[in-house]
Symmetry: C2
Subunit: 113 residues, 2 copies
DNA sequence: TTAAAACATAACCAAATGGTTATGAATCAA
DNA sequence: TTGATTCATAACCATTTGGTTATGTTTTAA
């Protein structure tokens, strides 16, 4: 999946909150309705709704109605794409870091001489 | 590296902005001073300073003084840990997604009968 | 039929975010 | 020595964010 800048904004933004990450972790165990998802957190029900909306706008979850319940399930594509993005650049950052480390080490050696 | 919730908040939060991601991408090519980093963006210099501060607080970059210049370089550990976190759960989200897909497919088949 | 359950939505609030202009400090170059 | 360069910091502003309470809607269960 190709992620544009806005997708990355929304995805990383959604992941930048412990409550929302907790919900995603919970959903890795299986589908859930909203009440069950809310249970571990002692914030109000509307606050939970807002978090779910953020996750939905980021494309990280999907909802379907089942009677009066709302069944939430995870949608892994965006998260996978964000993980790929991060892994891709991490590789270069590591290379860059090592290169600079070696350079600084050499400079130190030169000074000792 | 073990990431606590606050580290993940800061790291994903820092990544949730296109300007900051652009800076990190730029830094994957090598160290840079602040002016060179700022060049592609037409926002004010203090705005650049703020973005750098966010990246620094998240532990994604490091700075050192060199005369009147500030040399910025990337620090890959946090990004790597965040990438690991994402990759780890993505695996379960994919499993979960596939399981639900199969379940829903079976339900459809049953209905056809 | 009526009360409870499971949500969404609206209105509001404080704090955080991303931007600005103005200003100042340190360093370098002429 | 003085002016330009390279930055940081302070003060301010509008918007976003994460929370709240109040209220309404739909569905289920008694």
């Amino acid at each position: 999946m190709v992620m544009n800048q806005q997708d990355l904004d929304l995805t990383f933004g959604a992941l930048a909150d412990a409550t929302r990450r907790g919900m995603l972790v919970q959903l890795s165990q299986g589908e859930s309705n909203v009440s069950a998802l809310a249970e571990p957190y002692n914030i109000s029900q509307p606050a939970i709704s807002k978090h779910l909306r953020v996750l939905e706008k980021a494309g990280l979850i999907e909802r379907r109605r089942q009677g009066r319940e709302q069944i939430v399930r995870v949608k892994p594509e965006r998260a996978a794409a964000a993980a790929d993005w991060l892994a891709y650049y991490t590789q270069f950052w590591k290379q860059q870091f090592d290169a600079v480390e070696n350079y600084l080490k050499n400079v130190k050696k030169q000074k000792k001489k």
